[in-house]
């Protein structure tokens, strides 16, 4: 296998007393796209949020086990969660640009990192927007409100905003679920571009999307990792019966 970016050892997560993730072990390769699939409520989004510790924000969550990124367990006591989130960016299901201008949205991350020179910010904003393949559409209205963009543009803006912080890993939680087919295909193309430089983990309920975009696929069911393999193997020759049933659309 290729270089491993994220290694998960015996991860268990409880909401109160309900186990939401049970004993998960997996290794996510670097600069590849890994897709998490499974019926809703299977824990795939919860799992994604454990990778940048977004679950810390919710009361009553208890996590056991290890998530090792670049050789460090991110659940160690000493970990700096703020910097962790700079390295592990996240794109949400519902695009959530701030009620600020396009420019200020992208410059948000660099600014909180203390970059304030205008020319430097200009460069980062332009570069990030280009990386997110939205530069041409917004370059004339960088100072308009981000909320004036279309849904698909907003989502790509959110991707640009994340790229501007320069993460290693990008987590995407059903990034195209609320978008029309054209916007969706733009996002998928973008994912394909971005994996040259970033490790991407994407949660999706869309089987075709997983097949089209990902190199590896993990199938979750009822909080357990049922199967994890190269995408072409998963979709052509799944090892488990449950995986086959789900992929072929028999439930979920």
């Amino acid at each position: 296998m290729d270089d491993i970016k994220v290694k998960i050892n015996d991860l268990t997560l409880h909401y109160g007393t309900n186990p939401a993730l049970k004993n998960i072990n997996m290794e996510i390769p670097e600069k590849m796209v890994t897709a998490f699939i499974g019926p809703s409520g299977c824990g795939k989004s919860t799992f994604l949020r454990t990778l940048n510790r977004m679950n810390d924000l919710i009361d009553n969550v208890k996590i056991d086990g290890e998530v090792i990124i670049d050789g460090l367990n991110i659940y160690n006591k000493d970990i700096d969660v703020v910097n962790l989130r700079k390295k592990v960016g996240m794109i949400f299901q519902k695009s959530n640009p701030f009620a600020k201008s396009v420019y200020d949205n992208v410059a948000f991350g660099p600014r909180i990192n203390g970059i304030s020179q205008r020319n430097k910010l200009d460069e980062i904003v332009e570069y990030s927007l280009k990386q997110a393949a939205i530069w041409d559409e917004v370059k004339g209205r960088l100072h308009n409100s981000a909320l004036s963009l279309s849904g698909g543009q907003q989502q790509r803006l959110c991707i640009a905003r994340t790229l501007a912080v320069n993460p290693d890993i990008i987590l995407m939680d059903e990034p195209a679920s609320a978008l029309d087919p054209i916007s969706t295909s733009k996002i998928e193309e973008l994912i394909h571009e971005l994996k040259q430089q970033y490790t991407i983990i994407i949660v999706t309920h869309n089987m075709q999307q997983a097949a089209r975009t990902s190199d590896f696929t993990a199938f979750f069911y009822l909080g357990e990792l049922v199967e994890f393999n190269k995408t072409e193997v998963m979709f052509s020759n799944p090892a488990k019966r449950q995986t086959e049933d789900y992929i072929s659309g028999r439930f979920g």
């Binding site: 991110i74 970990i79 700096d80 910097n83 962790l84 390295k87 990192n113 570069y127 320069n166």
Partner: protein, 363 residues
């Protein structure tokens, strides 16, 4: 993509990448400092409540101390003729001089606190008497009149708003009635003084133009928005399924309102009334302007009364800082504070819990 830009960016970003490492928790001063400041400031509300307790009681406290110093007061009386002129010019600084002052006033030798439970409030006289009974009973009388007026009308109006009114009308009624909360009490007091007093006098034909009845009704106006809003909230908080079940069984809206919704909302309505009582009890400006301010004990609603809070409002500006009268007024303030504090705690903890328990157990 512009390759030159890309190259320079890559360099830029790479250097940034090395800086960001998460292996050790970083100390961020601004976050640490902001959190400390925010947490400290948030305690201010608690501190203020405690300070109010302390300072209102502190100023009331000398009245009890004066009793203990009774034994020495005869000695102090000797000094009186010398010290009188001096102390009058000098701002009073210490409790000792306060005691001197107050003992000096009571030439007849009656302890100030022993007059507290007498039936006469006569703080400014040669033989001052600080009997708070007339004030207390007067307040009670006004509060009862006020409540008898405000509670039924507010609750009925809330029932109409929550149960009978069409949504469109409801949207109008609610803000209009809540407008009443926006009237400064001095404006309501003014209205009572100028209009209500005259109108009521011509209707009931009583002797004193300003009295407990006028004051009570006017203070009720201040309590209506509180009782109305909280009752309406309590009624609308009753789960819709209750109403639907009752209507589904063929009950009329009235029957549903009175036999299903109202009983379920009783703790909330009680809380509303309790807070309304607190508002009436502590209301100062309306009482000052509309009750006539005569400290007498009578059962007749058309007699003038002097309420506890109005007494403070009327007399505090005239008293000598630190003398007995001053302390007695603070003692009255302490009583008011304890009473409203207790009412609030009752509404908050007892009735609130009752509401929560009710809905949880039946869900």
């Amino acid at each position: 993509m512009d390759s030159k830009l890309e190259r320079s960016m890559n360099k830029e970003l790479k250097s940034a990448k090395e800086v960001v490492s998460f292996n050790k928790r970083k100390f961020r001063f601004s976050d640490w400092f902001a959190e400390k400041v925010i947490k400290t400031v948030a305690f201010l509300s608690i501190a203020v409540v405690i300070l109010i307790f302390i300072f209102v009681f502190r100023e009331a406290f000398p009245i009890f101390k004066m009793d203990k110093n009774e034994a020495v007061s005869t000695e102090l009386l000797v000094q009186e003729s010398y010290g009188g002129a001096e102390t009058a010019n000098e701002p009073v600084k210490t409790t000792d001089t306060q005691v001197d002052n107050s003992n000096k006033v009571q030439t007849t030798g009656e302890k100030p606190s022993s007059t507290l439970f007498s039936k006469t409030w006569m703080p400014v006289s040669d033989n001052p008497r600080y009997g708070i009974w007339p004030l207390f009973l007067g307040t009670l009388k006004v509060t009862i009149i006020s409540l008898l007026f405000a509670a039924p009308i507010s609750i009925l109006a809330a029932i109409y708003t929550a149960m009978f009114a069409k949504p469109r009308i409801r949207e109008v009624i609610k803000p209009v009635i809540e407008l009443l909360a926006g009237f400064p009490s001095v404006v309501i007091g003014f209205f009572a003084l100028m209009v209500m007093a005259t109108v009521f006098q011509s209707i009931f034909g009583y002797a004193s133009r300003l009295n407990a009845f006028v004051g009570g009704i006017a203070m009720g106006l201040a309590a209506i928005p509180i009782i109305y809003t909280l009752t309406e909230d309590a009624l609308t908080a009753v789960p819709r399924t209750y109403t639907e079940a009752s209507l589904g069984l063929g009950a009329s809206r009235r029957q549903t309102a009175f036999y299903v919704v109202l009983p379920a909302a009783v703790p909330g309505i009680f809380a509303a009334v309790v807070l309304g009582i607190g508002r009436i009890f502590g209301e100062t400006m309306i009482a000052l302007m509309a009750t006539g301010n005569a400290a007498m004990i009578s059962i007749n609603p058309f007699d003038s009364v002097r309420t506890l809070s109005a007494t403070i409002g009327a007399e505090m500006a005239e008293v000598v800082f630190g003398d007995t009268h001053y302390s007695v007024l603070f003692l009255i303030g302490s009583l008011l504070f304890i009473f409203t504090f207790a009412l609030n705690a009752l509404a908050e903890f007892y009735f609130r819990n009752l509401v929560i328990r009710r809905y949880q157990s039946k869900k």
